[in-house]
């Protein structure tokens, strides 16, 4: 399966560790991912590519997938193809 590349400033995303993004760029990139997802411009193959390669923005995408799973908009995790979530819902006794 050929994955689609996600670009930021006309360059593919860098790794989540040892990257050269400034804090402003990081915030901007996270917002770009969110806005792209909300407007339907972020494909599943791009999500898979980001998470599987450990790229920056993976955490944002994990949150997006978790949100969809918790809201029961999707039944299966598109990355793992099962019902696992990345985080668990906070319960009243959790800190």
């Amino acid at each position: 399966m050929t994955s689609e590349i996600y670009y930021y400033k006309d360059k593919p995303l860098k790794k989540s560790y040892n990257n050269t993004y400034t804090p402003l760029e990081k915030i901007e990139l996270n917002q770009k991912l969110e806005s792209d997802f909300n407007s339907g411009m972020l494909s599943v193959s791009q999500m898979t590519w980001i998470i599987n390669n450990g790229l920056y923005g993976g955490y944002t995408i994990q949150r997006i997938i978790d949100r969809l799973l918790f809201d029961k908009k999707i039944e299966l995790n598109p990355i793992t193809l099962d019902k696992r979530t990345y985080k668990t819902i906070k319960k009243p006794f959790d800190l």
Partner: protein, 136 residues
């Protein structure tokens, strides 16, 4: 070419007043195609969109200028990569958004704290207490 299915078009594109209808049509057609099949010749686009070459070029320029499209030139055809510019969030992050109130024009005297009646009264000093003598 299937007649079934649907394509998702971002609202930002529909609302964008900078783009012409041809540019929007081009974006919609490219969005309809799978990313793997976005390597197209001008001839194909002309026949599918039913427009002349100059109109197509103008539409492409508009999309590229407004950061909706990136064209990768290849030997016999172009690869069209669609993007979505972030207008609001970028401005907010980089603080380019025009500020409603010019913060530099707000003087210390104009702040809400200083405009209260309590603060308008000048400080007259402490009252002299009886029984204490001045050091002078």
């Amino acid at each position: 070419m299937t007649k079934q299915g649907f394509s998702m078009i971002p609202n930002q594109l529909i609302i964008d007043e900078r783009l012409s209808k041809e540019a929007k049509l081009l974006f919609i057609y490219l969005r309809y195609l799978s990313p793997k099949f976005r390597t197209l010749r001008n001839k194909t686009l002309l026949s599918k969109l039913d427009m002349c070459l100059s109109t197509l070029q103008k539409a492409k320029v508009e999309l590229v200028k407004n950061e909706y499209l990136v064209i990768h030139r290849k030997t016999s055809a172009n690869f069209y990569d669609l993007r979505l510019p972030i207008l609001h969030s970028t401005d907010r992050v980089l603080n380019k958004q025009p500020i409603k109130y010019n913060l530099l024009s707000i003087k210390k005297n104009n702040t809400m704290y200083n405009n209260t009646m309590y603060n308008k009264e000048e400080f007259k000093g402490f009252k002299k207490l009886k029984g204490f003598k001045d050091d002078k």
